[in-house]
Subunit: 141 residues, 4 copies
Amino acid sequence: MKTLYDQIRSSFVRQNFLALLGAELESVEPGQVVISCRRREDLTQQQGFLHGGLVTSIADVTCGYTALTVIPEGQEVLTVEFKINLLRPVTGRKIIAAGSVIKAGKSLVITEAEVTDADSGKIVAKMLATMIPAARKEEAV
Amino acid sequence: MKTLYDQIRSSFVRQNFLALLGAELESVEPGQVVISCRRREDLTQQQGFLHGGLVTSIADVTCGYTALTVIPEGQEVLTVEFKINLLRPVTGRKIIAAGSVIKAGKSLVITEAEVTDADSGKIVAKMLATMIPAARKEEAV
Amino acid sequence: MKTLYDQIRSSFVRQNFLALLGAELESVEPGQVVISCRRREDLTQQQGFLHGGLVTSIADVTCGYTALTVIPEGQEVLTVEFKINLLRPVTGRKIIAAGSVIKAGKSLVITEAEVTDADSGKIVAKMLATMIPAARKEEAV
Amino acid sequence: MKTLYDQIRSSFVRQNFLALLGAELESVEPGQVVISCRRREDLTQQQGFLHGGLVTSIADVTCGYTALTVIPEGQEVLTVEFKINLLRPVTGRKIIAAGSVIKAGKSLVITEAEVTDADSGKIVAKMLATMIPAARKEEAV
């Protein structure tokens, strides 16, 4: 029988974009998922910081899988929307995104994620996201 | 003398992350920037759609450069925060993000971007973003 | 037979909070609703500007009714979430919020609203909102 | 010498809109402010729930004063933007909004607030907000 980690991982490894970014699934608990990403020079912006789009992508995926842990097995999760505050430029060698569930409802799952610079230990981004189980969505909304 | 397009482009080409994604600077006018990105299989998620993180990164960069066109030359722009609604799964061969300025203030520039699926012509995402000129920011905020 | 304006108005007048604020339903078209609110001294904050919470409430209600015009009659609309940028302090005698539909999907309706200071004609706020038809929601989400 | 509570309160009582809503300043600590609001029938929407605009206004003010506790005395705080997820309809007799600082930067203060239904103890809303000290803002942005 597949564990929750296995269920999430089997979806994670099918996302080509995550492989491109070098994202790594760190841990999976019900309502809590942690994903990391190591700094690479091709993930930076013009000032040498990790790109905000990279930080955002990691946070979004973290929110998505966090939501996936609290919906019935077999369903997919799609992002309806999210907001992210980018708090500090990222100079460390790795970022760590930790997601948690705020509210798992019948139609939607509301999650949040905090992204931390693994070297400094400081928070670099905060996201608040609305996810929808895919069985209820034929289109993105 | 550098045109506005040249100024934006000289920053654009220094962003390694944009090269990784294959983003292309389509056009630059004061207060309006258009950036596109062609579909590649390594930019997709588990259902074969273009990843929401990719769509978001293109929209964010578009908002950033749109803001850059309305601030004094020589300054950088950093993203304070943004919200994005992902409206439809992206199946087309290219996405086109068009940014515009809502309000260019003394401290902040508020922009929005619409991302369209070039094949269907339909809007796939809408972003509302807050940008800050970098001279006023030592950290991301 | 009730017109679209009548349908919206019959819901509008049942909202005690809107009566408290002095909100007025200006016009209703499919996918476009306009609501206004006159300045009163009890709607201001400590610097004498119209309160951001007042501006936001008017924008939210405008987004909600805009969504209501594109869903089947008999259903209610509830706000899932929204983001608003407050762009300028409001000093004019009236604000006008104009809403429009970005995407009317099966599960959710995505809308936006622009709020204008009627005296200066300038935009004072921009909102991007996610609404859900109430038949699909037993709780707010 | 004025305590932090006194400083916040002297601004709070000058906001006419807060008096209209019946908001109450519960507690003030550095980086943490709690504000409540009792249910009144004139604060409701058409289904009898506390209006989302009311919940949002209380959360926004809470975020604003939370930010005010971490900036130099004598400055004001203005809301740049915020996003709020409305999680549950509010049926209780009082809501309680608790704000905290995510990042106090040189130019901006990023805060969040959770609003709880005092009767059920359940979270009814979550806000993520960007505030700016007023000395740096001639307009809202």
